[in-house]
Amino acid sequence: MPDEKKLCLSGQGLTKVFGRGGQKTVAVDHVDFNFYESEVVSIVGESGSGKTTLAKMLLGLINSTEGDVYFQGKKRDIRSQKKKQEYWKNIQAIFQDPYSSYNIFNKIDAVLLDCIRMRGGGKLPQAKKVELMTQACSFVNLKFDELTNKYPFELSGGQMQRLMIARIFLLKPKILLADEPTSMIDACSRATILDMLMHLRNETGMTIIFITHDIGLAYYVSDSVYIMEHGKIVESGSADSVILYPSQAYTRRLINDVPKIHEAWDLSTV
């Protein structure tokens, strides 16, 4: 399996510098990465380590100062809005805050219809559209008939995040970028959301990039893990090797700071 992995998204020397002159902040500092097809990758780091900036660059929401992103082996070209939209058919995102992920003036049908249109299904008959939407909703254990004519804010956080996954189900992108998808919802719904994402990966073979500070979650879901500190990737490798046998002091600290079940939690280190 490892030798036939196809490269999906990779980057070389990716850098983002905010500000200029004396007030430069290097948010992402010459980062190299290789994400393979249908792989689950986690980028782990504390707040301020540049995870989200990296995510935004991957999505093409901000330009990189230096370095390139390669999509399926070719250099990514998103210089025009049209090309950007073309690129976004292949990469989609779930953000941390489900409450601010939706247009509050659009009803849920509109949200899902938009996805169908984006996949080129705008001219499908109404019945087919409803069928697609129902299918997407049932994939995430939501009932479409209960959701029609509702606004996103009428749902709970967990439901909204699941609706976000329903969107991804309809869009079927090559890459899904999940930026802290479960940090605002409770532990119980978290298992559900993760299950759904894994199921989606198995069904469509998409690459999932998790951006998270929860190292336990990274360990549970991912095939490979990248640890970021101050804009640099300090450690990377398969989940087992990074989490169980960390080589960097930073990684060890991150793992130590998480409360565990079977091991005692050492409070003296802070």
């Binding site: 709970s156 119980c188 719904s189 978290r190 336990g216 979650l217 549970y220 079940i261 409070l267």
Partner: protein, 341 residues
């Protein structure tokens, strides 16, 4: 037997919605917290954890209404008191409450010391600025916070530091019970650890007598509190020591909750996370029988009709299920066997 600080008997509170519907968010909850002990409350969102915290303070504002039950803090019954009296004589001195986003309480245009001044002056009218400063500095030293923070503006502090500052302020008047409602869920792991360390310090130094810690992070609860109470749909479904509840849960819901724990420990990747299907019942008209019945794997026909009381297993352990302990354990063992195959 040590002194009981907080005792709650059959507390019931409800929300009245704008359509005049009653939502019983806290339904006959009884609990007891002893001196020097901490109680953890776990449960998924919307199960009534935070409402319970608000209800415990006796500080009721529409749409939350007090219905029945007693809240006794060191022998004093505060249930049904006028909110104004509660604010003057209970909050801060008897019960302190840290909401989830406590750090937002800080006024961005004022220094931290002003914030502390406000708190002290509300309770002690004739106190000099110097006394306030000394008291604040002493408190910060006890809790391991740098005293320079007092002269800073909130924008100069990190999120974790702001949170710790507010928590420190909340224990300033030496409350008997500290209710911490997800005090660390918006912070990263290192700041979370600092917050927990500070809370523990406050407890050890006698700034607070007991603590109620609310969170949905079970690994955190296991490491912080002595006892854990699991709530579901406004009711307590399981109560026991932290060890017992995490490693050997009895109620099917608690069992499911413990199956959703994610920690970076060896063997986690092989374990399958159990997610509980379905959603909690609507509390506007809760089901007559067990509230967990429709999501329960071990549901029996009588579950949906008979109301279920708490079953005492001894040793302070209770759970709310009609199935006896022995049968439950057998079902869990069978379930595990099935999963292993």
């Amino acid at each position: 037997m040590s002194k009981v600080i907080l005792e709650v008997k059959e507390l019931t509170t409800k929300y009245i919605t704008r359509f005049k519907e009653d939502v019983y968010a806290v339904d006959h909850v009884s609990l007891k917290v002893e001196e020097g002990k901490s109680l953890g409350i776990a449960g998924e969102s919307g199960c009534g954890k935070s409402t319970l915290a608000l209800s415990l303070m006796g500080y009721y504002f529409a749409p939350l209404h007090y219905m029945s039950g007693e809240i006794i803090i060191s022998g004093r019954n505060i249930s049904g008191m006028n909110p104004d009296d509660v604010r003057k004589s209970v909050l801060g001195t008897e019960i302190a409450y840290i909401p989830q986003a406590a750090m937002n309480a800080l006024n961005p245009t004022q220094k931290i010391i002003h914030f502390i001044e406000d708190v002290i002056k509300a309770h002690e009218l004739y106190i000099t600025k110097k006394d306030i400063y000394d008291r604040a500095r002493k408190l910060f030293e006890t809790l391991g916070l740098p005293a320079e923070v007092l002269q800073k503006y909130p924008v100069e502090l990190s999120g974790g530091m702001k949170q710790r500052t507010v928590i420190a302020t909340s224990v300033l008047l030496l409350p008997k019970v500290l209710i911490a409602d997800e005090p660390s869920s918006a912070l990263d792991v290192t700041s979370q650890k600092m917050v927990i360390k500070m809370l523990r310090r406050a407890m050890e130094n006698g700034l607070i007598d007991s603590m109620i810690f609310i969170t949905h992070e079970l690994p955190l609860l296991k490491n912080v509190t002595d006892d854990i109470m699991v709530m579901y749909a406004g009711q307590i479904v399981e109560k026991g020591t932290a060890e017992e509840t995490v490693f050997d849960p009895l109620h099917p819901y608690a069992k499911g909750l413990m199956g959703s724990i994610i920690v970076p420990e060896k063997g986690l990747r092989n374990a399958k996370l159990t997610s509980i299907p379905g959603v909690p019942p609507n509390l506007k008209n809760p089901p007559p029988g067990c509230r967990f019945a429709e999501r329960c794997k071990f549901v029996r026909p009588e579950c949906t009709t008979n109301s279920v009381g708490l079953r005492d297993v001894g040793g302070g352990r209770t759970y709310r299920c009609i199935i006896p302990e022995k049968e439950l354990r057998e079902s869990y063992a069978r379930e595990m066997e099935k999963n292993a195959r």
